[in-house]
Symmetry: C2
Subunit: 200 residues, 2 copies
C-alpha cells in the first residue's frame, strides 16, 4: 500500500499519543481503544497502520531509544580530552539520569513483552546496536577484535543497566542518586582497572 497523507498523519499522531501516555502513566496505560479515541480514528485504522498495539509500543520505545541516543551522543562529544574511565563513567551517569528522569518511558523499553514466540524486531536490535557502538568506540583501542569488542560492550552495558534497574525499581528516594552514582562509579572503576591494556 502506498503511503497516504492520512495514513502518515495517523501514524504520527498515534505515536505521539502513545508516547505521552507512556510518559505520564506507564506502559500498562496504553490501550488501542483509548488511543483511537484520542486520535479520532477507528481501532481498525490504528491496527491497519501499526499491525497491533505491540507494533505501536515498539515504535514508541524506538523513539525513547532515539532520545537516549541523542543525549548519550552529546555527552560523547566531550570525550576527546577524557580518559577511558571518565568516558565510561560519563556514559553510565548519563544513562542513569535518563532512566530516573524518564522512568516510565525507559521502563517501557525493557518491560514490554510480545507473545513468547515473537522475535525481537530487527529495528529494535539496530537501536540497541547504535547505543552499544558508543561503548565500543570507547574500548576500541583495547579490543581490536570486533566480536570480542561487541561482547565486552554488551557485558558492560548489562552491568550498568542492572545497577540502574535495581536502584530505580527499589525507589530508594532521596538516597537514590548518591547511592546509585557511588555504585556506578565503583563498577566503572573495577571495569577500568580490569580492562585489557591498550594495544600499540
Amino acid at each position: 500500500m502506498a503511503p497516504s497523507p492520512y495514513r502518515e498523519k495517523l501514524r504520527e499522531s498515534a505515536l505521539s499519543i502513545a508516547c505521552r501516555i507512556i510518559e505520564a502513566e506507564g506502559l500498562e496505560a496504553v490501550q488501542a481503544r483509548r488511543i483511537a479515541k484520542e486520535a479520532d480514528c477507528a481501532v481498525g485504522s490504528l491496527y491497519n497502520v501499526y499491525g497491533d498495539i505491540d507494533g505501536l509500543i515498539v515504535a514508541a520505545n524506538s523513539r525513547t531509544l532515539a532520545r537516549l541516543g541523542e543525549i548519550l551522543n552529546s555527552a560523547a562529544a566531550t570525550f576527546p580530552a577524557a580518559t577511558t574511565r571518565e568516558r565510561l563513567l560519563t556514559l553510565a551517569l548519563v544513562y542513569a539520569r535518563f532512566a530516573a528522569e524518564n522512568h516510565h518511558a525507559w521502563d517501557a523499553v525493557f518491560r514490554h513483552r510480545r507473545a513468547d514466540d515473537t522475535p525481537v524486531p530487527a529495528g529494535y536490535l539496530e537501536d540497541q546496536g547504535r547505543l552499544l557502538a558508543l561503548i565500543e568506540d570507547v574500548i576500541a583501542p583495547r579490543y581490536p577484535n570486533a566480536p570480542e569488542r561487541a561482547r565486552v560492550a554488551r557485558a558492560m552495558f548489562g552491568a550498568v543497566h542492572g545497577i540502574v534497574s535495581l536502584a530505580v525499581d527499589n525507589r530508594l528516594g532521596g538516597a537514590l542518586r548518591a547511592e546509585l552514582e557511588a555504585q556506578l562509579s565503583f563498577i566503572v572503576d573495577l571495569i577500568d582497572r580490569g580492562l585489557a591494556p591498550p594495544r600499540r
Copy 2:
C-alpha cells in the same frame, strides 16, 4: 484476628495456585477471580488473607527468592576450596541458570510493581539482603568495612543481574547460554582483577 485453620489452609492453597500460574503463564495471568475460583473461595476471603492481589504476588515472589536462596546456598557449600573468582563465577552462573529455567517466576520478582507510592515490603528487602549476604561473604576479606562491603555486593549483583536480564529478555535462543556465560565470565574476571586486594 487469631489464625484459624481455614485461614491458614486458604493462605497456603492460594499461594500454591498463584505460584503455579506464574510459573506456567507469567505474572500477568495472576487474577484474583481466577485464584478464588481455583481455591474454591470467595474473592473477599482471598483479600481478607492477603490484603489485595499484590500481597499474594509478593508472597509468591518471596517463595521464588527462597528457592533461589536454597540453590545458591547449596552452590556456596562447595566454596571452601575455591578462589574468589571461582566463587563469584559460580554464584553468577547459578543465578543465570535459575533465571533461564524459571523464567516466569524470576521475571515476576523484578516485573511486579505496586502503586507508585507503596514502599517495597520489608520482607522483600530482607529476602534481598539474605541473597546479597552470599556475595558479601565472598568479598568480606577484601572489604572489612560493612557499609562499603554492602555497596560493593549490591553493585556486583546489579552487574550480573543486568547481563542476565538482557540476555534472557532478548531471547537469543540457542546462542543464549554460551553468550551469556561468556559475558558473565568476562565481567567476573574484570571484577576479580579490579577488586581491592585482601587485607591482612
